[in-house]
């Protein structure tokens, strides 16, 4: 029972520390408080699993998971390359690129915009991952089918956001460009695309998570014997839950890193926007 006591003590100690810390606001507090919270959660998890002898097929302890992570590093790396580098990144680039080009292409036609915006909004609510089995049938088991799912999943959120963003330039600003005798492309390049920046990056950020989900779920429907989705489904079959959790940790790290990269680019490109300046 001493492990349970450790768990409870970690939780109470972490909470007490946080309650004290938040009285002194500052930068350090903002970084420290969530870190303490996360650490307390991990210690409590470890303590409860050990204290109550929870079987590993239900919930492995964090120490077991990190052990599986370290031991399975080559396998995890191969899965990461197959899923993220081969499927997600090409699919993400193609899907977002195609949506961006489509949005710019239909930009001159209000008619098409009025038709496509509601359709895009509707498509964003549809369970698009369901096309995964169809794509696997069409493009085979390898990365092509996963990339195809990712393309379709990224397309609509990106399209809707880009169309919305291209409307952001104000009439006054457009008139100014007219008085400069700027052509359509100059106006697009120098005024409207920069003004659309926050929306475009919002779409890009939404798509990072969607792309990873699409690729992993598509792998549940058939893959070569490598990939994060494949590993998750087979290791569940073998009841090796520590490996599954290690794979989830990889997915979480990859997802956060991907999101973080896009956010970094956003900060440099749209540095003028109030949400970043402030």
């Amino acid at each position: 029972m001493s492990w349970v006591a450790v768990a409870i003590a970690a939780w109470l100690g972490g909470w007490a520390a946080n309650v004290r810390l938040v009285r002194r606001p500052g930068r350090l507090t903002r970084a420290l408080v969530p870190a303490i919270f996360g650490a307390a959660l991990l210690v409590m998890w470890e303590g409860l699993v050990r204290g109550f002898n929870v079987p590993a097929v239900i919930l492995p302890a964090p120490s077991m998971i990190s052990g599986a992570f370290a031991a399975g590093l080559p396998v995890l790396w191969a899965d990461f390359v197959q899923t993220v580098i081969r499927s997600v990144l090409p699919g993400y680039a193609m899907g977002c690129g195609a949506a961006f080009v489509t949005a710019v292409a239909i930009d001159r036609s209000p008619f098409l915009q009025r038709g496509l915006l509601p359709m895009g909004n509707l498509a964003a609510a549809l369970p698009i991952v369901g096309i995964a089995p169809i794509m696997v049938m069409w493009f085979g088991f390898d990365w092509q089918s996963k990339a195809a799912v990712v393309v379709v999943m990224c397309f609509f959120p990106m399209l809707v956001n880009t169309i919305e963003g291209l409307r952001m330039a104000e009439p006054m600003q457009r008139d100014l460009m007219r008085t400069y005798a700027a052509g359509y492309w100059q106006t697009l390049w120098k005024l409207r695309l920069p003004a659309a920046g926050p929306f475009i990056f919002n779409g890009l950020k939404i798509c990072t998570t969607l792309a990873l989900i699409g690729a992993i779920v598509a792998e549940f429907f058939g893959t070569p014997v490598v990939g994060m989705g494949f590993r998750i489904s087979t290791e569940i079959g073998r009841m090796a839950l520590d490996m599954v959790w290690a794979e989830i940790a990889v997915a979480a790290l990859a997802g956060s890193a991907f999101y973080g990269c896009v956010t970094l680019v956003e900060r440099t490109v749209t540095h003028w926007h109030p949400s970043i300046r402030g």
């Binding site: 969530p34 609510a125 991952v129 369901g130 549940f220 998750i232 569940i236 989830i248 997915a251 997802g255």
Partner: protein, 287 residues
């Protein structure tokens, strides 16, 4: 209403592209068949033949429509072949999970808004958890819950709840913080208690945010329930239909399940939209 014509045009264009795609993608099989039989075949024969293949690469729209009609209207809804039967299995898990997830999300948001320690501790984790492909762990949750004796409806609902929890929590924190200092000060001058501030100011002004999050949450809850049906075998539901169709190469089953799910999603988001109109219309927050 002026957008009816553009939307109709886009829909027609999609159907047209779909038909053309069906002809070209399915033509190869017809040619192979003709070559095997040793007869020449022209476009005049290929085009109608591609519309009615048993296992097409891409089924024509009317084939999908006929399949949906056959499996909804012409089957008893208790039959295992009825799409309504499978739809109800998925939908019940979705709705149960949605209600649980929304309840928990609102509770967490209330806690975060009223407790500064909780805000600084939990909020960064809630936000960064949005960047994690949570759906990937759905099969694991199913297996784990099965091991401790929970299976079927509740297990799938747990996934839906987990997924719909985050958008609601994030949206509600934003919404409950929407009243500005001026309004909060006014409540102070009225000597309002925290309870009154919550019910008379924070809650009403969070409603627009709540409904926006609810739309996201119900869509993702449906996706969660479908993914949750993948590892449970073939007990039923849209996800099980899709998996069966993909195992046995029954393209029409996949497509009809896909469209069934899409129709359910559209109906549920539409229902939330109607509730939004009704509620926000009465509170005068309709934009």
């Amino acid at each position: 209403m002026r957008s009816v014509l553009p939307i109709a045009t886009i829909c027609l264009a999609i159907v047209a592209v779909w038909y053309v795609g069906a002809v070209f993608l399915n033509a190869k099989w017809e040619r192979d068949q003709a070559a095997r039989a040793g007869v020449g075949i022209g476009w005049a024969e290929i085009v109608p033949a591609t519309m009615s293949q048993e296992r097409p690469v891409l089924p024509a729209p009317h084939q999908v429509a006929v399949e949906i009609w056959k499996t909804t209207a012409e089957k008893r809804i208790t039959s295992k072949r009825s799409l309504v039967y499978h739809g109800w299995i998925t939908l019940s898990a979705t709705l149960l999970g949605f209600v649980m997830g929304v309840g928990l999300g609102i509770l967490l948001a209330v806690g975060i808004v009223h407790n500064r320690a909780m805000d600084l501790s939990a909020m960064p984790w809630v936000i960064s958890s949005q960047t994690i492909p949570i759906l990937a762990i759905a099969p694991m949750i199913i297996v784990v819950l099965y091991n401790i004796g929970i299976s079927g409806l509740v297990a799938k609902a747990a996934i839906s709840a987990y997924l719909s929890f985050f958008p609601v929590a994030v949206g509600m924190v934003k919404g409950l913080r929407a009243p500005d200092d001026m309004q909060l000060d006014l409540m102070r001058t009225y000597n309002a208690s925290a309870w009154q501030v919550f019910w008379k100011l924070r809650w009403p002004s969070s409603l627009p945010y709540l409904f926006a999050s609810l739309k996201v949450a119900i869509a993702i809850a449906l996706v969660g329930a479908i993914i949750g049906e993948l590892p449970t075998g073939s007990q039923g539901g849209f996800g099980a239909r899709m998996l069966n169709g993909s195992y046995y190469g029954q393209v029409l089953i996949i497509w009809s399940a896909l469209f069934g799910a899409a129709i359910c999603a559209a109906l549920m988001v539409g229902a939330v939209g109607l509730a939004q109109r009704a509620v926000l219309g009465r509170t005068g927050q309709m934009r």
